[in-house]
């Protein structure tokens, strides 16, 4: 039984890590209606910039500030060069543009900082401590704590500040928001910069675990089923979706494996969350917390 709880809790905590990446997607989708496939590349770019600056001898917190500044510059550039020319294009075009953007950022990151693999030390040991006989990772708990704080801050931002409300207005309808005087470009820069900040946090936490290397861009693929489950526009949805996906994925990997004979079930982690999300969509097409779409003829 302890084993079951170990897998479950490990899965829940892994799910939090997925949610961190999904948060960036949600932010951008919520505010600009763009499904930003480049989020994974942004995670990589942020982490690589940070770690390269730290390795040149800069203090930790100063490096974070510099990286944030770099993400703001990136947001500016994206808004000016990409988004401005694609106002009111269909979603698929914007999606394709973000895939192009992902290639661009990946090339830029390794072109600027090199192809080396880097380690990040955040000062938290990954040794487990025992709670009621179950091994729990300190690092995972730290990550969950960070995610919780981040979500709280973002939720407050969206509900109670003027900029947050403006962001939601822009998500609803670009042209309507323009017509009531919301400065569209500035809003987009803000939201992409915030998503860049979330990407930095996700990049640091994932990078501490896997090392800062190109594979960080694959974290985006893990976040997609989370988004489906939680809905593309909902921040609490990203968290809940992440928890569900993480837990079921790990439980399926272990238990479907051992019940059918270890050699059948192993390795299903790649497609199982997607299959789960697909089944879920058949029942509830907008996700748990997504906005219901009304289609008119």
């Amino acid at each position: 039984m302890t084993f079951f709880f170990e897998v479950l809790i490990g899965g829940l905590l892994a799910g939090v890590m997925y949610s961190l990446v999904a948060l960036g997607f949600v932010l951008i989708y919520k505010a600009s209606g763009v499904f930003n496939f480049a989020q994974g590349a942004m995670v990589f770019f942020a982490a690589l910039t940070f770690v390269s600056i730290v390795e040149r001898g800069v203090n930790f917190w100063l490096a974070i500030a510099i990286t944030l500044a770099a993400m703001v510059v990136l947001a500016f550039a994206i808004e000016r060069v990409v988004l401005r020319f694609l106002v009111n294009q269909p979603q698929i075009t914007l999606f394709m543009a973000t895939i192009g953007l992902a290639y661009f950022i990946e090339g830029l990151a390794q072109g600027l900082w090199g192809a080396q693999v880097h380690a990040i030390e955040l000062g938290i040991q990954d040794v487990p401590f025992k709670l009621a006989g179950i091994n729990i990772s300190q690092f995972d708990l730290f990550a969950s704590g960070t995610a919780a704080v981040l979500v709280a801050v973002l939720a407050l931002f969206f509900s109670y500040t003027r900029t947050g409300r403006a962001l939601r207005a822009v998500a609803d309808d670009h042209q309507a928001a323009l017509s009531i005087g919301i400065p569209l470009e500035r809003i987009w820069v803000i939201v992409w910069a915030v998503a860049g900040f979330v990407a930095l946090v996700a990049g640091l936490l994932w990078g501490a675990r896997t090392g800062v290397q190109f594979a960080l861009t694959f974290t985006a693929l893990k976040a997609l089923p989370v988004l489906i489950l939680g809905g593309f526009e909902s921040i609490p949805g990203a968290i809940v979706g992440g928890l569900i996906i993480g837990a079921t994925e790990k439980l399926a990997e272990v238990y479907i494996g051992s019940s059918l004979g270890l050699n059948i079930g192993t390795g299903i982690e790649n497609w199982f969350p997607y299959a789960l999300a697909m089944v879920f969509l058949l029942i509830r097409p907008e996700g748990l917390f997504g906005e219901k779409r009304i289609e008119r003829v």
Binding site: F3, E6, V7, G10, G11, A14, M17, E106, G107, Q110, G114, A115, Q116, V117, H118, A119, I120, E121, D126, V127, P128, N135, S137, F139, W206, R209, T210, G211, V212, Q213, F214, A215, F218, T219, K222, E249, K250, E253, V254, G257, S258, L262, N263, T266, G267, I268, E269, N270
Partner: protein, 444 residues
């Protein structure tokens, strides 16, 4: 109109470049040169390994040019083509570069199993030998079927037998393996699956149980796999990883409390890039390699002197990488290529460039004895190697190293593979390939 202007500008630019490309198809090399195409990858998830390996390879060739003036006066030339580790890009690069140089491409090592497979089919028609150093198809060791493919030094199957020998050593003898539990944690790809059959054969022979656990590509997350390992409580874990799977495995092992000095990695899990991100979780981790790290080998010193000396720039940006695993691997590839050229020149005429077919002969008649290695300056860097028409592998040996947090240190001497297990499997698989492709194996 803006649209039509941009269209015409784009069209003319496109035409000009295509024209230049077609026009530039004629080789622009002098006559006394030996051309080696470099199907390198410097972007993407495996760029760290690619830049190291091809850096070492190119630096060695550069050094031979500068120190010796080439091979008996024939200068070595090369051209890089970015494959991004993708099979079709590799194929395109191969096709583009295979006819360059006065005698065409001499030898090719794409450092990618997928590209090797794809090119191996064309190599016999194009008569260009493909060296798959420490990767690629293990059954290509049978030179009767795979005339132009050379999995030199050692293949995956051979390496697996050497690993079991090492474990046997550590346990106090091969008979002590009976009843032991080993987990094979493999990357969910063609590369990862490659050693499952040979481990099963050895498990039956020596009486240990092997459990194969797959880590789905890319391996960012291995929680459930290592929890299963924790349930099984094996005596040893063989880590057959690639890229990001390696540091994550080591960290996750630490998290579930599995000792790092019982984890045995393959050489694609045994480079500095694989252990540095894992921090102190990697201390004590053991990895197999067919060459050590370090710069105190005469040939590496020569590279430092002739290529990097006096502040000159070599192919590698960060001089710390010289002497690391991937760099040294590239140097060894260079040694094999140059030795192959030299041996072929002995037979076909010194001082002039050789063709791919002659290079194949050269690679089949390598005799890198300990004495010859001393002459080259690679004593201790490589194990002695002797290839033949029948054996395209060469019988290379494997050393095991442990990571101490800052560098790799050797913990064994050269361990030979067990060809009594591997060779029958190789011949069976090669025969199957020959049947599928309607090939008649040649006589050796």
């Amino acid at each position: 109109m803006i649209r039509s202007v941009s269209l015409s500008v784009r069209k003319t630019a496109l035409c000009a470049v295509i024209g230049a490309m077609v026009g530039a198809a004629a080789p622009a090399f002098a006559q006394n040169e030996q051309f080696i195409p470099m199907l390198s990858y410097r972007v993407g998830p495996y760029a760290a390994g690619g830049t190291g390996f091809f850096g070492g390879f190119i630096d060695y060739l550069d050094m031979v040019n500068k120190r010796d003036g080439g091979v008996n006066g024939v200068k070595l030339t090369w051209e890089e083509c970015e494959t991004e580790y993708k099979n079709d890009r590799g194929m395109e690069c191969y096709e583009r570069l295979k006819k360059k140089g006065p005698t065409g491409a001499t030898v090719v090592d794409p450092l990618s199993t997928g590209i090797t497979y794809a090119i191996s089919d064309r190599a016999p028609t194009d008569k260009i030998p493909v060296v798959s150093l420490g990767h690629g198809r293990s059954d290509a060791a049978d030179g009767r079927v795979f005339e132009y493919v050379f999995p030199l030094i050692t293949s995956y199957w051979s390496q697996s037998t050497a690993k079991i020998k090492f474990i046997g050593q550590k346990e106090g003898g091969m008979d002590k393996l009976k009843g032991k539990k080993i987990v094979n944690l493999y990357h969910g790809s063609a590369y990862g699956k490659e050693t499952i059959p040979v481990l099963d054969v050895q498990a039956k022979k020596y009486g240990f149980t092997v459990t194969h656990i797959e880590v789905p590509h890319p391996g960012n997350e291995q929680q459930s796999q290592w929890l299963q390992v924790g349930q099984i409580k094996p005596d040893w874990v063989i880590l057959r990883g690639w890229g990001v799977m390696n540091p994550v495995a080591l960290r996750t092992a630490q998290r579930v409390g599995y000792p790092s000095n019982k984890i045995l990695g393959v050489w694609w899990s045994g480079a500095e890039e694989d252990v540095l991100p894992a921090g102190d979780a990697a201390k004590g981790y053991i990895a197999a390699s067919f060459h050590p790290s370090g710069t105190n080998f005469a040939v590496i010193q020569d590279i430092l002197k002739h290529v990097y000396g006096g502040g000159k720039k070599g192919n590698v940006d960060d001089p710390k990488r010289i002497g690391q695993q991937y760099f040294n691997r590239g140097v060894i590839q260079g040694i094999l290529a140059v030795e192959g050229i030299r041996v072929a020149q002995e037979k076909y005429g010194k001082g002039k460039p050789i063709t791919g077919e002659q290079m194949k002969w050269g690679l089949e008649n390598l005799n890198l004895s300990e004495q010859r290695l001393k002459q080259i300056g690679a004593s201790g860097l490589m194990s002695p190697l002797k290839s033949s028409c029948l054996d395209h592998e060469g019988g290379g040996a494997i050393k095991f190293m442990a990571w101490d947090g800052a560098k790799w240190t050797n913990i064994t001497d050269w361990i030979q593979s067990d060809q009594s297990i591997v060779r029958p499997m190789v011949e069976e698989a090669a025969a199957k390939y020959a049947k599928e492709k309607h090939l008649t194996p040649r006589k050796c």
